[in-house]
Amino acid sequence: MAGIVIDRIAKSFGAVSALKEVSLEIADGEFVALLGPSGCGKTTLLRIMAGLETRSSGRVLIGGRDVSDLKPYERGLAMVFQNYAVFPHMTVYDNVGFGLTMQKKPKDVIDRQVKKAAALLHIEPYLERYPAKLSGGQRQRVAVARALAVEPAVLLMDEPLSNLDALLRLEMRAELKSVLREAGTTTVYVTHDQTEAMGLADRIAVMHGGKIVQIAPPTEVYSRPASMFVGGFVGSPPMNFIPVEARAGSVALGGQTLAAPRASGALTLGFRGEDVTLAPPGEAMPFTVRVAEPMGSHLLLTGRIGDAVVRVVAPPASIVKAGETVGLRLDPDRIVFMDAATGAATDLAA
């Protein structure tokens, strides 16, 4: 078990800077998700932690030890790859035991550890089979078992569920969470899927353009995004943003007066689709519905407030038709203000 310190890691490929002095501290036993769109540098950062990629500058510490210049196998970690990378020419048993065999562990130790990891991932019936005979989900279980069998201090996972179909992904997600909680392994999990990050992680590090733009627990990333990018990337539907004007320290919106972080000037107001209540059009902010989609659990309304596209999550039984204008009342405790120019969150207290 060990914590990880990423100390000002930078990486450039030629003239392109993939990582711009990223720093991150991960506590022992913590589960951190690196979340971001493709090209944000999350996989590069993970591969630098693993030692599969060289860094341009900075340090990686695992358990207080500087591992920056060590070989991958000297760092005391294990990794699960997106395409599983389960060796096709070895049985499941040999795959799971591969790390221990490489460490030249005695046969009985290998046998014990392989069986333990196999039991944890429910793959005991397949131990003598070859991976070609297994489904994608089973192969990924083998890959996770292979990683856990060496009892690593740190487990790195690179989009491990993205090759699975939706239902299997949901199932594996829940299972991964319980297995890793039980193992207590410090885990860094790269994903572009915000629901995976939300569901699994103790903390989410949202990455954008080679930087970590926010690191916080999932609920905080969701309801208090550090920037318009985070608000728009995390959550489905994404956070809504409408331009507002502050006057005398408050913002007036269709009958509602909201405390603003600044005395005056242009701001962007952000709110989640589910943090509103529908009201008669005259009494609240007018919202023109373009499309109404009954999703079963809720009614998804897409429309406009002024020029801004807004998505609202209404109760499933609401009766709203396309073309109608309804009023929206915001929950004042659940709104955020962003600087209109920079897109960064402005603190109400500031």
């Binding site: 693993a50 599969l52 070989k71 991958p72 196998y73 970690l77 294990a78 990794m79 790859f81 997106q82 395409n83 990378a85 060796f87 096709p88 020419h89 070895m90 591969f98 790390g99 490489m102 460490q103 089979r129 070859y130 070609a132 005979k133 292979r146 060496v150």
Partner: protein, 282 residues
């Protein structure tokens, strides 16, 4: 629908006709010919072939050559292929240069090495200029069987390693890099990664390369003929001599059939030795 039933056959028909006329018919004719002697249908040609003074030597030389050249070529091609995998810049240029000998015919390759190694060749001239030898030194005659053998091996390795390389490079590129990375993460050092991961996954390509090279190596002739003439008898060389100089087509055909049987046996050997169990395929 009726059209699609005969269309595939119609499309492969020209190839089948071509193969039939230029491959199957001569093959059958050769086999027939090898059994036709002066006293009718029988094994007369075969007993003449086996009874010939050079037969044992040709068998020995051919096998010795195959057993020396093939491991050298595969070893070299593997090393070259792994080096190419590690390269980023200039990889294609290096591969291109390494495969130039592929475009040289085997007789031309033999003549190139003859120009280097004959009594008044480039190597002797160079050694003489450096004061290392007194005068023209023979390397390729019947009194120097070892250097002659080494020269043939050198020329064959130079000429035909590239085809093994091309097949192996194709195979190496098919192995996802994550396999190597996973092995590295779990503690496999470079040599272990090569033997435990790369080689097993390369088995299908190795098999193709070995079958192709072994069959062609048993047919070795032009390089040997250019460098040593009959000083180094090989099976196909003997077939040529019986056909051309002795004008005995029957014995020549017997040699051809023998080479074919050896090639078939070699192919079956590699198919079995490097079989990938269907369930262990990637």
């Amino acid at each position: 629908m009726t059209q699609s039933r005969w269309l595939p056959y119609a499309l492969i028909a020209p190839a089948m006709v071509f193969l039939g006329i230029f491959f199957i018919v001569p093959l059958v004719q050769t086999i027939m010919l090898s059994f036709q002697g002066g006293s009718g249908f029988g094994l007369e040609n075969y007993s003449k072939m086996v009874g010939d003074l050079n037969f044992g030597l040709a068998i020995k030389n051919t096998f010795l050559l195959v057993l020396t050249v093939i491991p050298l070529q595969v070893g070299l091609a593997l090393a070259m292929g792994m080096m190419l995998q590690k390269m980023t810049a200039g990889r294609d240029v290096v591969l291109w240069i390494w495969t130039i000998p592929l475009g040289v015919s085997d007789l031309a390759a033999g003549l190139v090495w003859l120009a280097l190694l004959q009594n008044t060749g480039y190597i002797n001239s160079m050694l003489f200029a450096m004061g290392l030898i007194e005068g023209p030194t023979p390397w390729l005659n019947s009194e120097t069987p070892v250097t002659l053998f080494v020269a043939v091996v050198l020329a064959e390795v130079w000429r035909a390693t590239a085809i093994v390389l091309v097949i192996l490079v194709g195979g190496l590129q098919l192995i996802p890099k994550e396999f190597g990375e996973a092995a590295e993460i779990f503690g496999a050092k470079p040599w272990t990664r090569f033997t435990r991961i790369t080689l097993p996954l390369l088995k299908p390509s190795l098999q193709s390369a070995l079958i192709l090279r072994t069959v062609l190596a048993f047919e070795v002739f032009a390089v040997v003929y250019a460098l040593g003439g009959r000083n180094f008898p090989v099976l196909v060389g003997e077939a040529y001599v019986w056909q051309r100089e002795n004008q005995n087509y029957g014995v020549a055909a017997a040699y051809a059939v023998l080479v074919m049987i050896i090639s078939l046996a070699a192919t079956i050997f590699w198919l079995r030795a490097l079989r990938t169990k269907p369930e262990a395929q990637a």
